[in-house]
């Protein structure tokens, strides 16, 4: 029997294969060569360009766009990848509307920035489609580095270290490398297994041994690693998920949004994936948006995203908020979850309206829910880590931790924006610092 959006409860197969294929196709279809030229022609080649300043990895954007405009997208890709080895993924997932494209002088002039993200994708796709890797390793140094975590920070770090001739062992807890690129980003942002292909391409530099299924804690200890390697980089991300702290959080149907997103990314058949009829997502960041939008795209009838503060405080960009709204997600703000109702299985969730300071108003609302996704943030997991700064690993300079010979970067390290591109920058810069310490 086939199901539809109206089918009660959590079920699979709400939409046809065609609808699902359409819903989960590329959010921004790639530019064709003509579109790329037209877009590239709009760049003014600014002096000391504001877009470069706005890019966490300092990509020389005017230069790469000029290289596209003059018919050498491969050279453009090299310009990008020299600064950001995951330039292909960043072209897809960067919130460009708050980074380079916000800074673009044509945004100032006309409210229409140069399509920097899409041009970056055009260049990097062109180069990666050719299957070549543009960088070569320096002669072997005889030094070995353990990189723990094969997410954006770890990959960027490993690549840069390998390029400098060091021998890198790249550990990751999950069965596949890529970290959030592979498990934590909405499927329509990185279609056709791009994350996996990008890692394969990145590893072509050589000198990197990948060991999956090895997590810090159960499988690896910092002390052992310090004995075995000349340096260590921790790019372990945030393995834990924050809890609501409400009674009934263990009811059936109350799930972590990151697991839903991960399952979706790894699903070979979206028809088999289950989603509720009335879905409530709690949170205001990118994870909340990704979960809410994808629940809707999977065929949920009602998807409500509830955030405890005002819309301007949401971590998700305005672009992402609008995307969610355009897909039919209802956004409720200034409402804090108070209770999860239901007999074994969640039936509805109760919120109390609050102001931005979270002052209770006494007014409550109950929203029907057969599936609840928690997306109120992730936390660093594990013990025997270097000293923390708040809830993350404390760092100084280019990722140096309190433990000699151990660096950290990406989401697990204090500071930064929790963006893919920031993680890449931190991994890269830590690698340069490690390199300096190893050869001096």
């Amino acid at each position: 029997m086939s199901h539809s959006a109206l089918t009660p409860g959590i079920t699979s197969g709400r939409l046809s294969e065609d609808d699902l294929a359409r819903n989960f196709s590329d959010l921004h279809p790639p530019l064709d060569p003509h579109e790329a030229l037209v877009a590239a022609d709009r760049c003014y080649f600014c002096h000391d360009a504001p877009c470069i300043t706005a890019c966490p990895t300092d990509i020389d954007i005017p230069l790469f766009i000029r290289q596209i405009a003059t018919g050498t997208p491969e050279a453009a890709a090299r310009t990008i990848l020299t600064q950001n080895i995951l330039g292909g993924m960043c072209a897809r997932v960067c919130p460009t509307e708050t980074l380079c494209e916000q800074a673009c002088v044509r945004e100032t002039a006309e409210g229409k920035p140069v399509l920097i993200g899409q041009l970056q994708r055009y260049a990097t796709d062109t180069l990666q489609a050719a299957g070549t890797h543009p960088f070569a390793r320096a002669p072997e140094t005889g030094k070995s580095v353990a990189v723990v975590g094969a997410g954006p920070a770890g990959l960027a770090c490993a690549h840069r270290l390998a390029m400098h001739g060091h021998s890198v062992t790249l550990f990751d807890a999950r069965p596949k490398p890529g970290g959030l690129n592979e498990y934590g980003i909405a499927a329509y942002k990185t279609v056709d297994g791009f994350a996996e292909r990008e890692v394969d391409w990145l590893l072509k530099i050589g000198g990197i041994t990948l060991e999956n299924g090895k997590a810090l804690g159960p499988d690896l200890s910092l002390d052992t690693l310090r004995d075995q390697f000349d340096a260590i980089f921790l790019g372990i991300g945030l393995g834990g998920v924050n809890a609501l702290g409400l009674d009934g959080e263990d009811k059936t149907g109350v799930l972590d949004a990151v697991d839903f997103i991960s399952d979706l990314r790894q699903a070979s058949d979206l028809r088999a994936l289950q989603v509720g009829r009335d879905v409530v997502v709690i949170g205001g960041g990118m994870t909340a948006i990704d979960a809410a939008v994808q629940a809707k795209l999977l065929g949920a009838l009602n998807v409500t995203l509830v955030y405890r503060r005002g819309r301007d405080r949401m971590n998700a960009s305005v672009y992402e908020q609008n995307l969610a709204a355009s897909k039919g997600v209802r956004i409720i703000t200034n409402a804090t979850p108070r209770a999860i109702h239901g007999n074994g299985t969640v039936r509805e969730i109760e919120f109390e309206y609050t102001d931005d300071a979270l002052t209770p108003t006494g007014e409550t609302v109950r929203i029907p829910a057969d599936q609840v996704f928690k997306a109120i943030g992730q936390a660093l997991a594990g013990d025997a880590l270097p000293d923390l700064d708040g809830r993350k690993i404390a760092i100084t300079g280019a990722g140096r931790t309190s433990v000699t010979g151990v660096w950290a970067g990406g989401d697990c390290a204090a500071g930064g924006d929790d963006l893919t591109v920031t993680a890449v920058a931190e991994g890269r810069d830590a690698a340069e610092d490690i390199h300096k310490s190893l050869v001096s």
């Binding site: 709009r42 003014y44 002096h47 360009a49 002088v105």
Partner: protein, 434 residues
């Protein structure tokens, strides 16, 4: 709407926009479409002498250069004069002129430099009822290798001689079309005038290679691996054409010689500029080849609106209006002092003015950490480069320093009077006043 009716050397047309002798005017079919679209006149594609027609290459005839978004900026061609039988062209011209009596129809001619050839072709074209002839002394490719086109236009004596023959053997108005592939365009213009020409038209196309194919290492357009220079036209040549028109317009011995302006005219504004420099009408080709004949409607509406705004009731009010302001460098006022001014409200902070000035000019623009760009008057020589590279129109302007103020660059007081190089103390050739 201003009346655009133009009388050019006795030939009237409903507007001053003619199609130049070129591929768009090679056939009755095209010319009828042009007249239906509203063109005021047509100079028919150049006719050669009776006999087997010329042949064209069977590969590409055009090469091009482009600006942003592949906007065509310059076109070059290696097409020859009409490759259709003379009689076919004459019959078509006759029919077209009969059906469009109010439009100008001009026969462009190119035959070998002997009197009989010219007499013979003139007799033939007279029967078409055309309004005049244009002598093609301009085509720089192919025909010039056979002693015609620009090979004639580059020798003033030939220009004068052929013009004389044409005036002698025909009562039709004679327009002499000049080549720009010459050092001083005034010389052939003078020869044409002395030979009795009713007008000159200019410019014909410029010797050019548009690009080189970096795979085959052959110039474009490439014919079986080889390329020959072609004739360059389109928006890119307009400044060269304007100058040549101006040179003729401001030369006393050529005063009063009517000019038909040609060279990169794409909009009504281009046409108005040519006319203000002395062109009695204009001829268009590349713009039509790029966008089709319909562009003439914008040219008509734009010129009409402009003339209304200026209070001009006839194109005669416009023609030559800028000629008195043409000057030699030595007579430019050296006491006229300006400084660049950046409108901070319009500035989009791209920094191109800074890069241009800092790297290639006078280090006269400052840049703050917040990307505020300001002119340093102590260094600004008012070169205008910042204005030209700024992507925002009117963001940077040149402001005149009023007399009595001090120029911070020179420390000198700006003088009210006019002074030029001829009287400047640094000029070794200065004549002391006696």
């Amino acid at each position: 709407m201003a009346d655009l009716t133009t009388n050019f050397i006795g030939i009237t047309s409903p507007n001053p926009f003619w199609l130049a002798s070129a591929p768009p005017t090679d056939k009755e079919y095209n010319v009828r479409r042009a007249f239906e679209a509203g063109w005021g006149g047509v100079v028919w594609k150049t006719l050669g002498e009776e006999g087997p027609p010329v042949v064209n290459v069977n590969g590409p005839r055009y090469g091009a250069i482009w600006g942003a978004d592949r906007r065509l900026l310059g076109l070059n061609n290696i097409e020859l004069i009409t490759d259709r039988p003379l009689q076919t062209n004459l019959d078509e011209m006759t029919r077209v002129k009969k059906d469009y009596p109010d439009r100008a129809l001009i026969a462009s001619l190119m035959v070998p430099v002997n009197e009989d050839s010219w007499k013979s072709i003139l007799d033939r074209v007279l029967e078409t009822g055309c309004d005049g002839v244009e002598l093609n002394f301009g085509c720089p490719h192919g025909m010039s290798e056979r002693g015609m086109g620009s090979a004639v236009g580059q020798v003033p004596e030939y220009v004068g001689q052929v013009t004389e023959w044409c005036k002698k053997h025909s009562n039709l108005p004679v327009i002499v079309k000049l080549t720009p592939n010459i050092t001083d365009v005034r010389k052939p213009a003078q020869a044409a005038k002395d030979g009795g020409a009713d007008a000159v038209s200019l410019i014909n196309t410029i010797n050019s290679i548009t690009s080189v194919n970096l795979d085959s290492f052959a110039p474009e357009p490439t014919i079986d691996g080889k390329g020959a220079h072609g004739g360059y036209c389109g928006p890119a040549v307009k400044p060269i054409a304007l100058n040549m028109v101006a040179e003729i317009a401001r030369t006393p011995s050529l005063a009063g010689l009517p000019i038909s302006g040609i060279g990169g005219i794409t909009t009504w504004r281009d046409a108005a500029e040519f006319m203000s420099l002395g062109a009695g009408n204009v001829q268009v080709c590349t713009a039509a080849m790029t966008y089709g004949f319909k562009i003439v409607q914008e040219m008509i509406s734009g010129l009409s609106q402009f003339m209304d705004e200026k209070g001009f009731t006839s194109t005669d009010d416009l023609v030559g209006r800028a000629v008195p302001n043409l000057s030699d460098w030595q007579h430019l006022n050296l006491n006229y002092v300006t400084k660049a001014r950046i409108d901070q409200d319009l500035c989009i902070k791209c920094g191109r003015c800074y890069a241009a000035c800092e790297d290639t000019s006078h280090q006269a623009i400052s840049m703050s950490p917040e990307r505020t760009f300001e002119v340093i008057d102590e260094e600004c020589v008012a070169c205008n480069l910042c204005v030209n590279v700024c992507p925002v129109e009117n963001c940077i302007t040149m402001e005149e320093l009023s007399p009595g103020t001090t120029d911070p660059r020179t420390g000198k007081t700006v003088q009210d009077d006019y002074a030029n190089w001829t009287t400047h103390p640094n000029n070794p050739g200065t004549c002391a006043a006696e």
